[in-house]
């Protein structure tokens, strides 16, 4: 029985958990969610290190006593940026912990602050990279000169990066030791195509949905904060965007872009810019709902400014359905990319393209089965994750 006398001992400290932490804890308990997350991280990792896994540029090359690391010269600036992004994303939890240790109470959650820090670092590094460096693009002749080298560490699967006359002679080969998933109709290794296709899928998924979600969150907050006329107008704008036929816009944008602009990013841009309406509505609904809650009125009466309250309470709560929507959005974007490749609109290396290739000739099953399987796996995993998050944010399940 505890003493009723006052003690000098301080009351045990209860750690207040943020909404996000609660959701995360729920998620950790679900094996499907963790496996899905793991697969996603693995896919992103494979996409990022693709050149090291399959290609023709060696990682290490020793000739006439000279050691060089050709692959690093040949890596694109965008590839380095991608690697950095992946690294920073994976290190996010570390930064979060550091940030939280430094300042417990702030208007903005530690997660957001950590994300902003990482974002700024990435942006700065990328700008410097693009300004200062031009990647090597010439034909390397590495495969042909391999006998001349004293030592050459080629990627795991050594195969030409692009199809050429020589690879043509090896078209449509069944899986073998040299080509674990076989070759496609131009003689290109399918593992290579799957790896590089993963990049397209990840890019479309994350970036397109990222753009869409950002726009949606921003506009939704504005709508929810100001209300009335602003809300009325923005809702109409959202409805307009909802009805713009995406396909039409994509086709036309692809025709407009100048030659140096990669079509993939144009598509990503279009998907992002036309896909924000859902997120807008979630955020707006959350803000409008919270505004009328009693504790908000009380807080306002205490003189706390509205924006601070919304930021601290409404936005984090609104993020939950947005997160669910985002995961399903990524799955949808991967599907959309496959459809675009099917219609022949985009020519980036992608799973959709590979799937379409194999369609007419089912007996060369390694191509379409790999691509179809990759699309299926990715979309499935995102869907599982989305489901799990949705279940996790269901307040009735909280302990």
């Amino acid at each position: 029985m505890s003493s009723l006398l006052p003690t000098t001992e301080a009351a045990p400290r209860t750690r207040s958990r943020s909404y996000g932490a609660i959701v995360w804890r729920q998620l950790r308990k679900r094996p499907t969610a963790m496996v899905s997350l793991g697969v996603i991280v693995l896919l992103a990792f494979l996409a990022v290190i693709a050149p090291f896994l399959a290609g023709e540029v060696p990682i290490r090359w020793v000739e006439k006593g000279q050691v060089s690391w050709p692959i690093f010269r040949y890596l694109d600036n965008a590839e380095y940026a991608g690697m950095l992004a992946f690294l920073l994303a994976v290190l996010l939890p570390v930064t979060v912990r550091l940030v939280r240790a430094r300042a417990e109470r702030a208007a903005v959650s530690p997660l957001v602050r950590a994300a902003l820090i990482h974002g700024a670092v990435w942006l700065a590094a990328t700008v410097v990279l693009f300004a200062a460096r031009t990647p090597e693009r010439r034909y390397g002749f590495f495969l042909e000169r391999a006998p001349e080298a004293q030592s050459a560490w080629f990627p795991l699967i050594t195969t030409p990066r692009h199809p050429g006359y020589e690879s043509l002679a090896h078209r449509d080969e069944a899986p073998s030791w040299r080509h674990p998933l076989g070759t496609d109709r131009l003689g290109q290794d399918i593992v290579l195509r799957i790896l590089y296709g993963a990049r397209t899928a990840m890019t479309i998924g994350f970036v397109a949905v990222g753009i869409g979600a950002s726009i949606g969150i921003a506009l939704g907050s504005v709508s929810g904060y100001f209300g009335r006329w602003v809300d009325l107008v923005l809702m109409r704008v959202a409805e307009v965007f909802m009805f713009i036929p995406q396909i039409v816009l994509i086709i036309i944008i692809l025709a407009v872009i100048p030659s140096w602009f990669p079509p993939l990013w144009a598509v990503v841009f279009v998907i992002g810019v036309t896909g924000w309406t859902g997120y807008y509505r979630y955020m707006r609904a959350e803000l409008l709902r919270i505004r009328s809650e009693d504790y908000m009125t009380a807080a306002r009466a205490l003189g706390i400014p509205m924006w601070r309250l919304l930021l601290r309470h409404a936005v984090p709560n609104g993020m939950a359905p947005i997160l669910v929507g985002a995961t399903f959005g990524i799955a949808g974007a991967v599907f959309l990319e496959a459809s675009l490749a099917f219609l022949g609109l985009v020519q980036t290396p992608s799973w959709g393209e590979l799937l379409n290739d194999g369609r007419q000739h089912l007996e060369y099953w390694w191509g379409w089965a790999s691509a179809g399987g990759a699309i299926f796996l990715t979309v499935f995993v995102y869907n599982l994750l989305g489901e799990a998050i949705r279940d996790a944010i269901d307040p009735r399940l909280k302990i």
Partner: protein, 370 residues
């Protein structure tokens, strides 16, 4: 309620105008000349002068004239140039002219729309020879709608009971397994599904050869009596419908499950149980009926989707539907057709959204709109 409906209807107008303006300008301002391209594409070598005239005539008819007010004032008319001017001023003048032409064109289009003239399709004709976009769509909608109706019916018939069953046995293996399976189905890309179905279940394929793989009718179907005609139609529609159905199950099943779960937790159910009513009666008599409500709303909202076809399914199965029409229209910058489709779909969706909301309010007295 009445004021609510009227207000919603009035609010639709600026939205629709906004949609039409955005789409019109996008298509109009896109570079490339669809008219001359179409003429040239289809006839190879052509006398340039004659083509210009031909193109001009078509442009007049379709209201797609490009005006050059600014450019003419600053640089003189085109036939007075020795060589094409260059520079930022020229580019800016042309851009401004293009925007102005688009604006004029939009007003023209809008004016014609008010008297019911939807313009003319550049690329397409109905089998009767008309270029009226509405008729073009009217030709294709029945095809798409037939498939969609069959597909949606199947989805509702399969998904809702599944969802309800999952809620009933919540947490047990059926719930988890069905959720897993449905999600997996949803994750299969349509291209893959269609290809596999054709390849392994289709006539002339590598497998069972049970179903035809193209069109919705056998050749010579007009002569069939009604019973045989329907059988033939269903036989042809089998594979495309499967493609449309398998992915749509997950969403509706989830919704059904959530709806029933919500009702099962409600107070009135707790009361019923406390009253000692058998579980079956509780579930089937009370909770289910109320759970069907959101399903009805979903049904209403699905109706506008009936006229939108899946491009992939239509292409792979050689079905002349509205999905393919829109994509082809976009590729050809076929303005009249794009505008007509967008407008039709926009109007339908907004109207049915309103109907859905009204229905929900009517069915559930707790919901009130001011």
């Amino acid at each position: 309620m009445k004021t609510y409906i009227i207000r919603r209807l009035l609010l639709m107008i600026p939205t629709l105008i906004g949609i039409t303006i955005v789409v019109y300008f996008i298509v109009r301002l896109a570079p490339g000349d669809p008219i001359e391209a179409m003429i040239r594409n289809q006839s190879g070598n052509i006398d340039p002068k004659a083509m210009k005239e031909s193109a001009q005539k078509i442009r007049d008819r379709l209201g797609l004239i490009d005006y050059h007010f600014l450019r003419d004032r600053l640089f003189g008319p085109e036939n007075s140039w020795k060589e094409k001017p260059a520079g930022a001023a020229f580019w800016a003048a042309e851009a401004a002219d293009k925007v102005a032409s688009a604006a004029v064109g939009y007003v023209q289009w809008f004016g014609r729309l008010c008297v019911g003239n939807f313009g003319e399709s550049i690329k397409y004709r109905t089998s009767g020879g008309s270029r009226n976009p509405l008729l073009l769509m009217a030709e294709r909608i029945p095809v798409t709608a037939t498939l969609n109706v069959i597909a949606e019916t199947l989805i509702f018939l399969i998904a809702i009971p599944l969802g309800f069953a999952a809620a009933r046995y919540q947490g047990k293996w059926f719930d988890r397994a069905s959720s897993f399976v449905l999600l997996a189905l949803w994750s299969i890309p349509a291209i893959l599904a269609a290809t596999l179905l054709i390849g392994y279940l289709g006539l002339g394929g590598r497998g069972l050869e049970w179903f035809p793989i193209g069109n919705l009718h056998s050749f010579g179907y007009e002569k069939l009596p009604l019973g045989a005609y329907l059988k033939d139609l269903l036989w042809h529609a089998a594979l495309p419908v499967v493609c449309l159905v398998y992915g749509g199950l997950a969403y509706l099943a989830k919704m059904g499950r959530a709806s029933l779960l919500e009702n099962l937790r409600a107070d009135y159910v707790r009361t019923a149980r406390a009253k000692g009513l058998p579980e079956e009666r509780v579930v089937y008599h009370h909770a289910l009926r109320n759970s069907l409500l959101p399903m009805i709303t979903a049904l209403v909202l699905a109706i506008p989707g009936l006229i939108g076809g899946s491009v992939i399914v239509e292409y792979i199965f050689s079905i002349q539907g509205t999905g393919l029409l829109l994509v082809d229209a976009a590729k050809a910058y076929d303005l009249a057709l794009i505008m007509a489709e967008t407008l039709l779909y926009g109007v339908l969706t907004l109207v049915f959204l309103l109907i859905g909301d009204v229905l929900y309010a009517w069915a559930d007295p707790r919901v009130r709109y001011e």
